[in-house]
């Protein structure tokens, strides 16, 4: 059992008022708030220990390098990867996916090949592949969804043709919360020797993760959505793939030897970390992951399920409200519209009531098109949210209906 009030005290931002009303933060899908220990860690690193990593002979540099590599080990353990060489620090999920789209693409994508994505994807897991397809003369194929917002798995086999060289799929839909049966999907792809990239931007913060058990070939996530600092993220890649992919950026830190005739690359994972990395953020990210571990991932799953159930039930009591994405398996994120009321109008009223939600197409225009709408209101909750806050949201929505009805 979690003590939510105690947990809320760990997050300074949550105790404030906006427009004189207590802040209700339901925009965790966009970014999560940061616990005090993460904020403190960043300050401490800059105030007391700052020094560039991997190249100093001096005390501060070697200390910082140790911390950075320890952070990598924390990430490895958190996602149960086999080796630290398989953990690349990036700027975020988008950067991680772009890295794979470029480097994997350089090595393995040829004219006529296919890249398979799904209708549930965030633009970040569509556009890098489109760029790759264009560069290489390959094409993009799409696995569609059903009316519940679930992938049409029955179509997967026929789409996994021998032309498909990689399947890039989200673990959890950012816009409507569907949790995809990724284990089953990965197995089907692997039966045909097709590697799979998982977009974990909305997955890693909502439950246990074991990349070895899933057997995914790549896993991408962002630090800022898992209570860590912005500007940091992770790419997990199986060693065999990372070894066979060329670097996507050249510069310092990623080289072994540089000469005008022939430059050789550093070993994994540094081959993919050109330039001075955002080491304070990476170290503070490890702090955030430790925080999640201390809260307990099983506890998080149990409590967020309870929140989802309550939110879902409460929203369904509002006449004229329609939920988009009704899969049985969802994270605590719900997208909805109230009959005839524009999502932006809903969001603007909720804002002035102190309730932060996201409105719009959630960087998933193809998904919105498939649902036949322009956008939704999205409430994305996490373990520091409460049922009382859900009640306030529902009161706010009644107010919206009253104003626009």
């Amino acid at each position: 059992m979690l003590n939510i009030q105690t947990i809320r005290e760990d997050f300074p931002v949550l105790s404030q008022k906006v427009y004189n009303k207590p802040l209700i933060y339901f925009d965790n899908g966009a970014t999560s708030q940061k616990p005090e220990i993460v904020i403190h860690k960043l300050r401490e690193l800059y105030a007391e220990q700052n020094s560039s990593i991997h190249r100093g002979v001096h005390y501060l540099s070697s200390k910082m390098t140790e911390r950075y590599e320890a952070a990598r080990e924390t990430v490895r353990e958190f996602i149960h990867a086999g080796k630290v060489e398989e953990i690349v620090f990036t700027a975020g999920t988008t950067a991680s996916i772009n890295l794979v789209a470029f480097s994997f693409g350089e090595a393995f994508i040829h004219p006529g090949d296919e890249i398979l994505v799904t209708e549930l994807e965030h633009h970040s897991n569509i556009v890098p592949w489109q760029l790759l397809a264009e560069r290489k003369g390959a094409s993009l194929k799409v696995l569609p969804i059903n009316e519940k917002g679930e992938l049409k798995l029955e179509m997967l086999d026929e789409l996994l043709t021998e032309k498909v060289k990689i399947l890039a799929i989200t673990q959890v839909s950012n816009a409507i919360g569907t949790i995809n049966p990724v284990k089953e999907i990965i197995q089907k792809a692997h039966d045909k020797d097709i590697p799979v990239l998982l977009d974990g931007a909305q997955g890693v913060q909502h439950g246990e993760l074991d990349v070895q058990e899933l057997e995914c070939d790549f896993y991408a996530f962002s630090g800022h959505k898992v209570f860590g600092p912005n500007g940091t993220g992770v790419l997990y890649g199986k060693e065999k793939w990372l070894e066979s992919m060329p670097p996507c950026q050249g510069g310092g830190d990623m080289i072994a030897n540089v000469s005008f005739e022939k430059t050789t690359w550093a070993d994994l994972p540094l081959k993919f970390e050109a330039g001075t990395s955002n080491y304070p953020a990476a170290i503070a990210l490890a702090e955030a992951l430790n925080y999640v571990t201390s809260v307990g991932r099983d506890n998080i799953v149990t409590y967020e399920k309870e929140l989802l159930g309550y939110l879902s039930k409460s929203l369904q009591m509002i006449e004229g409200l329609k939920i988009y994405g009704t899969s049985q398996d969802k994270i605590s994120t719900i997208s909805f519209l109230i009959n005839g009321i524009h999502h932006q109008d809903t969001g603007m009223i909720l804002d002035k009531l102190g309730i932060a939600v996201r409105v719009g197409n959630h960087c998933a225009q193809p998904l919105m098109k498939s649902l036949g709408i322009e956008g939704t209101v999205r409430a994305s909750l996490c373990f520091y949210n409460t049922k009382e806050e859900i009640d306030q949201l529902c009161n706010g929505l009644e107010k919206v209906k009253q104003m626009f009805g």
């Binding site: 427009y19 524009h342 999502h343 932006q344 109008d345 969001g347 603007m348 009223i349 002035k352 409105v359 719009g360 197409n361 322009e374 956008g375 107010k399 104003m403 626009f404």
Partner: protein, 156 residues
């Protein structure tokens, strides 16, 4: 309704742009609550001159990622008449204010107008570049029309 709108526009045109702005500021001073302001914008959205569906063209569309705005300009001599629309109601209310201040004015006035009322009535956030509702783009577009027609007039 149409007739009423026309007489309203004529009423505003007897005033300067700044006088209309001051009038709007005064109207909003009556509200100390955000909900009242928004309710008033909802009212204003209903009074906005109906937008000709034929002008809902791609060229006239100013797309934000949250809501859409359509803007149509019709020059008449030195003057530009604007009509506009939005799919979101509060945005449409703000659109109505921009129309009230700038439509039916000389191109030169539109190009030079300093729209201070937006900040004064607390709607600056709604027109900031971070708000993806097309309003800022609409305002820029209105000013661009002003500039373009003014330049054209200078040539003739």
């Amino acid at each position: 309704m149409l007739k009423e709108n026309k007489s309203k526009e004529q009423k505003y045109l007897k005033m300067t742009i700044n006088e209309v702005q001051d009038e709007i500021i005064e109207e909003f001073q009556a509200f100390d609550d955000w909900m009242d302001r928004y309710n008033y914008l909802i009212e204003l959205s209903k009074d906005l001159k109906p937008y000709d569906p034929e002008n809902r063209t791609k060229d006239n569309l100013i797309e934000g990622c949250q809501s859409k705005v359509w803007l149509h300009a019709e020059p008449e001599g030195e003057i530009i008449h604007f009509t506009a629309d939005s799919d979101a109601i509060i945005t449409k209310g703000i659109v109505a204010l921009l129309i009230r201040v700038l439509s039916g004015r000389k191109a030169e006035e539109i190009k030079d107008a300093d729209l201070y009322f937006i900040e004064k009535i607390g709607l600056k956030d709604n027109l900031s570049p971070t708000r993806a509702n097309g309003l800022l783009a609409m305002l820029r577009q209105m000013k661009l029309y002003g500039l373009a027609y003014y330049a054209k007039q200078q040539k003739n």
